[in-house]
Symmetry: C2
Subunit: 271 residues, 2 copies
């Protein structure tokens, strides 16, 4: 099943627009998981099992694995997700950006090695940094408007009366998405910009980081980004779920589940 | 030694502006190296030994390793280079682009895991996608103008009367390079644009892909990009050297050495 169809099915099956980000920071893992690569696998798969009926996608951030030389654990986690929860899409967040033969190697990494349903990519090198991914019939999620302070350095530069990020949205909508495989990254900290992107791209899915630990406003985000069907978004939360402070009687996975459920409900209240 | 000083020393010691790219495509390796991860290590280290006195840097492209799950071989190659040819800088070509805590994980990957002297990064997410690298006192090589057809999709958009890539050059020169650790990627296929970037960034080093297999003009590139000292560039060639067709009596490493020497001389003829 292609990424967009799989995402649509997961939105419906779990009544959820919540994407759970997997950023396993060794310094923040519960004590029983620290210090060994296998601990990363056990932590992430416990989080997956605790939240798989509440999420529309899981998004591992490859940097946390790469820094530790733990790509093998990411392979195991990906295989586990495909086996145990095959209806939930896997988004590899690697923000790759390269061209031609090199981009094809990155596509192999994402789709063949990790079995990802979609991968994040940077638009800076243009169409031929996205085109090689299309061959796989999976998803390509292009950076458009990011939620960090420096995001405006380039993305907000004015080009023909419009900020650069809107040109990126237009390029993807008009040209790069010819096979219907694309989505966009738009940060939650700028709801008016989510609205502008939504107006440009129709029903294209948006991956929206920035709620939870990064402080984005859920209501404003959902109102700005929802499609007529009340979907169209993968609203990501990573640290607020992974490292939720357990309340009385909870362990880390129960705390993660509680925060995931609260977040899902907070999103659904405004769909 | 920091990256810029090490690069200056390598330019002088080898009288060379040639950067040798390491893109080990399993389908193109000589038969004796195919099919095993160890073959990648042996191929790359034979190329390194055959060209280390002719190069100012080596630049492994991480996508080729990532596609095969061969990061362990890249660790071995990096360690080999540091041990055998410690005066030649290692540039990790990974074009990472992320922010804050995630960018810091990528910096750990590049500098701690692989021991890279410099790493390529994408500017699309702005200053806070570059800042986390600064802590390491190594090199950060920012994508500016790339040599691929789609490079113009974003980089040539006009912002205040100037193309976007010139804004990136200005941003790096004026703000991001406050510690003197930055360089820029500027493709060889547009010599006039190399000239424009050189005028903006003073003596900042430029990493210039696009000669060799990609067809860039060496004379025009060197005349456009050289500094007053006749240096300032890492002119990259990957496939033309790695997969040079052996002439009578040569093996692949001798052929690579011959092409590297020819390229070094062709560059030096115009410095």
């Amino acid at each position: 099943m292609n990424f967009i169809n799989k995402l649509n099915a997961a939105w419906a099956a779990n009544d959820s627009l919540l994407c759970v980000g997997l950023d396993p920071d060794m310094d923040r893992l519960p004590a029983q998981f620290r210090g060994t690569p296998d601990g990363i696998f056990r932590f992430c798969t416990e989080i997956i099992d605790a939240t798989a009926d509440l999420a529309c996608a899981f998004k591992p951030q490859i940097a946390y694995f790469a820094a530790l030389g733990a790509e093998g654990q990411l392979e195991r986690i990906s295989a586990y997700l495909r086996h145990r929860h095959p209806h939930i899409p896997l988004i590899l967040d690697s923000k790759r950006g390269d061209i031609g033969a090199t981009a094809k190697q990155y596509a192999r990494e994402a789709y063949d090695r990790y079995g990802a349903d979609a991968v994040t990519v940077s638009p800076y090198m243009g169409a031929d940094s996205v085109e090689p991914y299309m061959e796989w019939q999976r998803g390509v999620i292009v950076l458009c408007r990011t939620s960090n302070p420096g995001g405006s350095d380039l993305q907000f530069l004015e080009v023909n009366g419009k900020p650069l990020y809107q040109h990126v949205a237009q390029l993807v909508a008009d040209k790069w998405n010819s096979n219907g495989q694309c989505a966009l990254v738009v940060g939650a900290t700028f709801p008016e910009e989510i609205r502008a992107v939504r107006a440009i791209v129709g029903d294209m899915p948006l991956l929206i980081p920035g709620i939870g630990a990064q402080g984005g406003d859920i209501e404003a985000t959902v109102r700005a980004g929802r499609t007529d069907a009340g979907t169209g978004m993968m609203i990501n939360s990573s640290r607020a779920i992974l490292y939720a402070a357990p309340q009385a009687g909870e362990d880390f996975a129960q705390a993660a589940r509680r925060v995931a459920e609260e977040t899902r409900q907070a999103i659904n209240a405004h769909r």
